[in-house]
Amino acid sequence: MTTTPQAVRRASPRTRRPATPAAPDPTAGLLPRTEPVRLLNPDGTPLPPRDDYPEPPVEALREMYRRMVVGRRFDAQATALTKQGRLAVYPSSRGQEACQVGGVLAVRDTDWVFPTYRESMALTARGIDPVEVLTLLRGDWHCGYDPTRVNTAPQCTPLATQCVHAAGLAYGESYQGRDTVALAFIGDGATSEGDFHEGVNFAAVFKAPVVYFVQNNKYAISVPLSRQTAAPSLAYKGVGYGVPSEQVDGNDPVAVLAVLTRAVEHARSGKGPFLVEAHTYRMEAHTNADDASRYRDPDEVEAWRDRDPVARLETYLRARDVLDDAAVAAIAEEAEAYAADLRERMNAQPAVDPLSLFDHVYAEPTPQLVEQREQVRAELAAARDEEGDA
């Protein structure tokens, strides 16, 4: 097409027609705030209250603090257990306590949680037995808890695949007339995976009540966020799917709980999925087997210490007069007892049964599995006999 003189004239300001009423912005209500939502300053002093994200009840915040302190102690204990050889590996979520605890506090027991391998703290905060949570990492089986009893999917290692499960579960629940919400945890790196996009898209198309909760802890093992995305931030990924999204200061426990509470309400009210990105930081290496000093500056880590979510909430709750020295000490004591109990139970050598390997491949074992089971049984019997002879 060539540019006609008429077209040039039309572009001229003198001949421009009166403005027609602007079409409604189709992204209205979908885009996140340009700055992460924050209700507390990093030092724990409150910011002015806001209408869009009302502050959660102070009792909820006190409970959040308790679970964050216990969660942090659990996390430290799990790391210690790797050093003693009791766990094969442990991916710490130290520094992400506000997200770990806020996520599970925002949902009901009847809702479903879809965690990744970094959500051990979240699962213990949800009330799941820590020994069952750590079964995977101790290595005596894979998932140690019964997902149907605690409405929590197995911790997911294949990145982002749980995003689609959450969409399906949430849709299936609403299809059957239940008001269950699914909360899917995901990290920053995994937002690059196809299943993140397929999951969010399916949830949006089927209006499935899912909250996608991205903990942007800035690193996917060693790879920084700049290598994952050129988007302004991960919360902007929602608009492309028609999913309302928000970003929040992930080290501000009050804001995390406020934003997630609203997101869960949105999902439960039948409006479809909601995407939340929490800006936080992984204080430890990817796992105990990783060396974070190879890819990040110690000064960067130090700077994040000043934004510690536990201290931040403690300062705020003390100022609100719902926490004092005695209460802080009591909670610390509870955390110690929790860790001691975990330590003791993890020090017991778990019983593993090689014959159980065949139990849950199918509802009924195939004839080939029955044969292999007999073979293993014979091998074990022979080994016992040899031991007996020796």
Binding site: H165, A170, Y171, G172, E198, H360, Y362, T366
Partner: protein, 338 residues
């Protein structure tokens, strides 16, 4: 009795399953209004509504992952992968979740999903529409892998797949969709885990499944002229595999050719040949031979007939089963070249 196509039998199986069990939901690409590109879901949306039979976004990992979630909520999803090779994006969901969830959770979670895969060639399809992908699934513990070769089996095996407590990859041979036979529905044929002797014979056993079964039967007919009376065993369910029926047949005949349309190396036929050899060694008068597709990417339509196991190739292979109890000179030649 009525004459009907395999496509119609599959359609009837889905409809009857949806009628019997309201937890059954059918979804995938183009399965709703259109009724699927092969019309296997024809009429289901009109009959059962768009909550029970629905189109999804065009994303295979999404379809299978969504089915995992639906199954966790208590539904019985039946999903369609439009073509064999289109299912590959879903492989992670299938191998890491569908196949393993029961095991990972010590039986607490099961995901009774049926993944329907129209597969294999012989239909003049262009690339990425004709793969025989059964070995990928059969190699994945936790999946059942089923492939019908007859109209009644198509109905019965699909009904059983939908009722099964475990996930089933249901491989539908595209070239047999519009083959027809006398059938009376609702048919219930032999259950999972049972191979069936389609043609009794005394001289050698042809073991085949899916699209290779008609080839085996045709070869067995043609072999009569050569003086061979061949038995044909239809595997039907690759997983669980029926060693007993196959073994009994080969022990009787003493010779065995395994036929598959898929490329041969590391395929299901290789597994069957190994199992037969392990169990029937003293009954065998000749090595177990295989007829398979060539070890090449699935060829362009004008060349596919060179690739596909043909009656002639099966008969040539049967001829090599050391009928005179003398070493076959071609084996010696191959041996010296190796």
């Amino acid at each position: 009795m009525a004459t009907m196509t395999m496509a119609k039998a599959l359609n009837a199986a889905l409809a009857d399953a949806m009628l019997d069990d309201e937890r059954v939901v059918v979804f995938g690409e183009d399965v709703g209004q259109l009724g699927g590109v092969f019309r296997i879901t024809d009429g289901l949306q009109a009959r059962f509504g768009d909550k029970r039979c629905f189109d999804t976004p065009l994303a295979e990992a999404g379809i299978v992952g969504f089915a995992v979630g639906l199954a966790m909520s208590g539904l019985r999803p039946v999903v369609e992968m439009q073509f064999d090779a289109f299912a590959y994006p879903a492989f992670e969901q299938i191998a890491s979740h569908v196949a393993k969830l029961r095991n990972r959770t010590r039986g607490a979670l099961s995901v009774p999903i049926v993944i329907r895969v129209p597969y294999a060639g012989g239909i003049g399809g262009v690339e990425h529409h004709c793969d025989s992908s059964e070995a990928y699934y059969a190699h994945t513990p936790g999946l059942k892998v089923v492939t019908p070769a007859t109209v009644e089996d198509a109905y019965s095996l699909l009904r059983e797949a939908i009722d099964d407590p475990d996930p089933v990859v249901f491989m539908e041979p595209k070239k047999l969709y519009f083959s027809s036979a006398e059938a009376e529905l609702p048919a219930r044929t032999a259950p999972f885990g049972r191979a069936v002797v389609r043609r009794a014979g005394t001289d050698a056993t042809l073991v085949a499944y899916g699209p290779a079964v008609p080839v085996a039967l045709e070869a067995a007919e043609a072999a009569r002229e050569e003086g061979w009376d061949l038995e044909v065993v239809d595997v039907r369910t690759i997983v669980p595999f029926d060693d007993a029926t196959v073994t009994a047949s080969v022990r009787k005949t003493g010779r065995c050719v395994v036929i598959q349309e898929a490329q041969g190396f590391a395929g299901v036929g290789a597994e069957i040949a190994a199992r037969v050899q392990e169990r029937c060694f003293h009954a065998l008068h000749a090595p177990v031979l295989r007829v398979s597709g060539l070890d090449i990417p699935y060829p362009a339509p004008m060349l596919e007939h060179t690739h596909l196991p043909s009656v002639d190739r099966v008969l040539d292979t049967v001829a090599r089963l050391q009928w005179d109890d003398q070493p076959d000179p071609r084996w010696l030649a191959q041996g010296s070249a190796a």
